[in-house]
């Protein structure tokens, strides 16, 4: 990748030789399966073809969920990656750390975060977990909903022993009793299905803006230097979103989301509980609630000392590319312009 970067400088021309896209990925039967729309973009091959026509290679960097966002932030900061589909909180951490990013395409309605308690612990709410050990991978998007949950209950992180371990190691830690509870994404449902523990709270019970969001972020420098290539990347994600939004592809999307380790019925159950239409799950629209979410994340992270500098959420959002992609692909009006997340 650094070779690609060097080549980009050597070429002297505007165009780089490689566009690098990073995404959370899972190994499945010897292949890397990319999360969400990135998986569709990679399989579709359209972006690769369009870039190839311009003599540019597409490099897709798989990032294991165990290391996740910190690795992406380090890649952005060292200019080794140009785009990444990843979470809200790590992106705010990067911007606060002085790595300019642009949110070039929102990806959907956000994901639920679950608080799971291991068997043998008699707890029905977060307050019952006082003094207990909770697994939480620091700096990941699910830290914020957890932090909000503590706030809402008048609790502090110091009321618990927070154990910083990655989500891949968490089920084993719960099963072994090394931790009493854990904050997880939908792998929390898997913990429940395996009989290791049960969910006592999720963001589905909280205001809609508590959900974590993941989006397509571009490196600030790349986006301003190469708006044409950024447009191509966003076009590819909008194509993928439109494809996934088709009812005919619903089953394939659910199969993809299982990523080879989450049982399909868990995904189906989670998706079925949504309060919005299927197509909105993939909405790339810069709705007012998306902007509000980033304002809230930035303010919250600063107020809680998780970042040391104020992040300008307005400067983070860059809606030019989605607007053009929707127009070019004749998708204007396909997704709702306002909030769709129920009555919260």
């Amino acid at each position: 990748m650094t070779g690609g970067l060097a080549a980009c400088h050597r070429s002297g021309a505007n165009a780089p030789q490689t566009v690098t896209l990073a995404s959370i990925a899972y190994p499945d039967q010897g292949h890397q399966v990319y999360n969400g729309l990135t998986g569709v973009v990679v399989r579709d091959g359209w972006l690769k073809g369009e870039l190839a026509k311009r003599g540019i290679a597409l490099a897709v960097t798989p990032v294991p969920t165990a290391v996740g966002a910190p690795l992406i932030n380090e890649g952005f900061s060292a200019k080794r990656i140009d785009f990444a589909s990843y979470g809200d909180f790590p992106a705010i951490i990067a911007v606060a750390g002085g790595v300019p990013l642009k949110l070039v395409a929102p990806l959907g309605q956000g994901q639920d975060v679950y608080l799971v308690v291991r068997n043998g612990i008699n707890a029905h709410s977060i307050a019952d977990l006082k003094g207990k050990r909770i697994a939480l991978h620091r700096g990941r998007p699910w830290e914020l909903p957890f932090s909000k949950l503590l706030d809402a209950n008048g609790l502090k992180p110091t009321d618990f022993t927070i154990v910083n371990i990655n989500p891949a190691a968490t089920p084993a830690a719960l099963a072994a009793g090394s931790v009493d509870a854990a904050v997880l994404l939908n792998d929390g449902l898997l913990v429940e299905k395996k009989g290791i523990g049960h969910v006592i709270w999720s963001t589905a019970q909280a205001p809609a803006d508590w959900k974590m969001r993941a989006e397509l972020f571009g490196r600030g420098g790349f986006v301003s230097e190469h708006p044409d290539l950024t447009q191509l990347v966003v076009d590819a994600y909008i194509r993928a979103a439109a494809w996934s939004a088709q009812d005919a592809n619903r089953e394939q999307v659910i199969q993809d989301a299982s990523r080879g380790f989450l049982p399909v019925d868990i995904i189906r159950k989670e998706y079925a509980s949504a309060t919005y239409p299927w197509r909105e799950r993939f909405s790339p629209i810069f709705r007012p609630d998306v902007g509000a979410h980033y304002h809230s994340v930035a303010a919250y992270a600063l107020a809680h000392g998780l970042v040391h500098d104020q992040v300008d959420a307005d400067a983070l959002l860059d809606d030019r590319f989605v607007a053009k992609a929707l127009k070019d692909q004749k998708l204007e009006g396909f997704w709702a312009a306002g909030s769709v997340s129920g009555t919260h």
Binding site: A69, P70, N73, E74, S77, A78, K79, P90, I93, A94, A96, G97, G98, V99, R133, H137, R138, G139, R140, T161, I162, V163, N164, I165, A169, A172, A173, A176, G177, S178, V179, L306, V307, H308
Partner: protein, 267 residues
């Protein structure tokens, strides 16, 4: 040792390099490194988030020290080191002595010991997590393991290197076992064992920090890991410097003890 010949030198013939004591001399390379580091930051060739200037790291260190965070994490790590090192050193001494003094235990246990000794302690981490979870037991166990091997090996070698003739002479003089141990075996093996303990303590420190990076709720390794996750490279580097300085001081103290305890050899 080195001071005696110096006094025979005529005054004025002392080489200028000796004006600085050994400590200031040792400070030159790190200071030069800090200066180059700061200069590299000032050139702006590297993004500030990647190459944090040492001045920022120093401020972060001061902030962590003032808030008590550094003291807490260093304290937790040192406590783990102390307990783990104590357990590892005692078992290492016992195992090394037992295998060196008995042909049967040597034949039975030594090959397995040598085999396990070849495996880096870090490679045991996942298995240890399964057995001991991620609690204190886990961290103390990795420190104990990292200590056990060098100490056992040094004890074994120390005892084996005592000339057979000494035992034979002791037998001729009908030396009692406590005297054999205290007057012959201990003085003969102490230098080797102390070297083993010194190697062990620095090794144990490195392994502990690595273990804390992997799974912990506190400690200097965890301070660094959380810093990385929250993209606070200054905190990561503050941790690197702190753990480096602690490792250095541990080695220095161990060397000083070793020199003190083996002074009789030079006499």
């Amino acid at each position: 040792m080195a001071t005696a010949p110096a006094s025979f030198l005529p005054s004025g013939s002392r080489r200028p390099g000796f004006k600085l004591g050994p400590l200031p001399q040792a400070l030159v390379p790190p200071l030069a490194l800090f200066a180059v580091w700061q200069l590299a930051c000032l050139t702006g060739l590297f993004p500030e988030q990647v190459l944090v200037p040492p001045s920022t790291v120093a401020r972060t260190l001061a902030r962590l020290a003032a808030s008590g965070e550094l003291e807490r994490d260093v304290g937790v790590s040192l406590r783990r080191l102390l307990v783990g090192f104590g357990a590892g050193a005692l078992t290492g001494l016992a195992f090394g002595a037992a295998t060196a003094l008995s042909r049967w235990t040597e034949a039975a246990l030594w090959p397995l010991f040598l085999l396990l000794w070849q495996v880096p302690v870090i490679a045991f981490l996942p298995v240890l997590v399964l057995f001991f979870g991620i609690d204190e037991t886990f961290k103390i166990t990795i420190v104990a393991l990292a200590t056990f091997f060098p100490v056992a090996l040094a004890t074994f070698d120390g005892i084996k290197s005592v000339p057979r003739a000494w035992f034979e002479v002791a037998q001729v003089y009908r030396t009692r076992l406590p005297d054999l141990l205290w007057r012959i075996l201990v003085p003969a093996t102490v230098p080797a064992i102390l070297t083993g303990l010194r190697v062990a303590i620095t090794r144990a420190w490195v392994v502990l920090v690595a273990g804390e990076l992997l799974a912990a709720d506190s400690g200097i390794g965890q301070l660094m890991e959380t810093g990385r996750q929250l993209f606070q490279i200054d905190v990561v580097l503050a941790g690197v410097i702190t753990s480096g300085v602690i490792g250095f001081l541990l080695d220095r103290c161990a060397r000083a003890l070793e020199a003190r305890a083996t002074r009789w050899k030079d006499a």
